[in-house]
Symmetry: C2
Subunit: 353 residues, 2 copies
């Protein structure tokens, strides 16, 4: 089914939502997006897998990237979409087809912008990093992402969220010695030994550094615990999986050093790590955008793909319609007014008077 980029942004959101595109199955939506963009003479369109990059080339002094992912988490009996009392319900309405619709509307209608624009609609954000379309593009064609500023249209309540915290996942392991539980004194209980690991976590005090005027809030949490052999065996191993969220003034190495020190004396194995992104609000392009939006800027606690832009040296913020706490929920939804607000703000910032 073709996309109608001439329709209003809400109707366009609904068209996108009703094209099912769970990660790994973005083929049809990417086809529709590519076809619609290729019909626009002012854009150069390239495709990499199910990731589409469309650019203006007016030779303007500044270039911005507007980016959104096309995939969603799995269906949860929440399609097709339903528009009711100014709220659009359904899988992907919040995360993040409202943002995608804004991007596509601007691509179709801003044929004489004040800044050159790179529109990126990419695949596989909801799954492992190796499949992430923006990640792949940043490695294979970093020049296509070169810009003075990037706006990732992930849901942020239609406000600006700057930077993002890094995330580190480690396994903290305790060991003991197996024995029959009827003769438990012959062994050593690894689950009991994990009590000290949990006690330390319980006593953790979060760092709350202020960066570019934004107050971040770190976290250190056991997210999984497992141990035990059988109902009559003193267990010889217990594994606590800990997720550390760290403010962007710390590197991955510094965050890991903190965690190793925190669990001093225990076996700590890293299973996952991604750097944070500094807010970069001191850069001119970022300052101007924040002024144009006119709202408060909030720190981004969760990790998002803005960190990939930061890694390329491009300041980036999150700015998109939808309340992120409803992302990945069965009752995902977005206020129509937020989609319209985002379109209006970006149009005002990018269009000639």
């Amino acid at each position: 089914m073709p996309l109608d980029l001439a329709s209003d942004v809400v109707s366009l959101t609904q068209q996108l939502v009703d094209m099912e595109s769970v990660s790994g199955a973005e083929g049809p939506i990417a086809d529709a997006v590519a076809t619609a963009l290729q019909a626009l003479p002012h854009l150069t369109v390239e495709r990499f897998g199910h990731t589409i990059v469309a650019r203006t080339s007016y030779g303007l002094p500044e270039r911005v990237v507007l980016a959104g992912h096309l995939d969603t988490v799995p269906l949860n009996d929440n399609l097709p979409s339903r528009l009711e009392d100014g709220v659009l319900h359904g899988l992907g309405t919040c995360d993040m087809k409202g943002g995608d619709a804004v991007i596509l509307r601007l691509a179709a209608t801003l044929d004489r912008p004040v800044r050159d624009i790179t529109f990126v609609l990419y695949e596989a954000e909801e799954v492992e990093a190796a499949r992430n379309g923006l990640n792949k593009l940043s490695r294979s064609h970093p020049e296509l992402l070169a810009a003075d500023f990037a706006i990732l249209m992930e849901p942020s309540n239609a406000g600006v969220e700057a930077g993002c915290q890094g995330t580190l996942r480690v396994e903290v392991r305790t060991r003991g010695e197996r024995a029959h539980s009827a003769r438990s004194w012959m062994g050593s209980n690894a689950i009991h030994a994990a009590g000290d690991v949990l006690r330390r976590l319980d006593g953790y005090e979060a760092r709350r550094p202020v960066i570019d005027g934004l107050t971040y809030h770190e976290g250190l949490n056991a997210v999984l615990i497992s141990g035990g052999v059988a109902g009559n065996v003193v267990p010889d191993e217990c594994v606590v999986t800990v997720n550390h969220r760290f403010a962007p003034d710390r590197s991955e190495a510094e965050a890991l050093a903190f965690v190793r020190e925190f669990f001093d004396g225990y076996d700590v194995t890293v299973t996952d790590s991604a750097p944070g992104a500094l807010p970069g609000l001191d850069r001119p392009a970022a300052k101007e955008f924040v002024e144009a939006v006119g709202g408060e800027v909030a720190p981004k606690f969760g990790w998002t793909d803005v960190a990939r832009f930061t890694a390329l040296g491009v300041p980036a913020v999150n700015f998109g319609p939808g309340d992120p706490t409803f992302a990945h929920k069965q009752d995902e939804h977005v206020a129509v007014s937020e989609i319209e607000h985002c379109e209006r703000v970006l149009r005002a910032w990018l269009a000639r008077d």
Copy 2:
């Protein structure tokens, strides 16, 4: 393949071991045992499922039960049996076909004993209680287990182990509130809350009561722990499965009251419970047997089917060849000398001079 009850006890053990009889597949071994026993005119033989009961009926003033289970835990590349340097290796050698062979040899050769004897060879000891042949028999035909004394020939290093500890399994549950781990202060971590449960366990001091001269040793151990929703979610539930082994001077209700008090303030759910068995060494039949064996008596820490006899009012002990620490192990084995010793001791106690 028929069993040859005229062969020596070691060869008979080997015949039994080489008849694979994992729990649920005891048909062939039970057939062979029933056929062999039915050929003996001094015994009355009855069969219930794969449980065989054979009795003498001389009207003697005392009756003893000799009991053993016919099943084994699953194969672990440890059949057929192998006799080497006085040690018989293979699945079931220790747990407990050496004991079964002693029972069958005595059944075949003691045709004029000093006590009436009930020989019980039963199914499904290695699986859940509902399938256990001795348990089923104690409910359907308790009169067949009536006796002055019972000897369960589970491996006990050819020594007498009296009584057994009870076992209680509970789930101790902590609760919290889910949140995204990037905004962990919005939730409450149930795994962290389990730290106090583990801390209490770590501080547990075992009771070691002396009963009939035997020192028991209780235990309270986390045997399993699980909690966690996903790698980026503050978990709202953590479950610690705790196994309490309690000395036989406490009832199941008393043991549970202790555990509830120990975990005061937490949600405690019972998942499994079985009473202990008092050693009963003050009973005349038990005293005489212990004198006949002439050895030390040890307390039985693990739960065994002796508790089923105790529940029927029959004093019972464990007495059988094999080191129980090799039961359920790939390298299960039994010293031939222990099988022979057990046969000799029981024959001396039961035969006319």
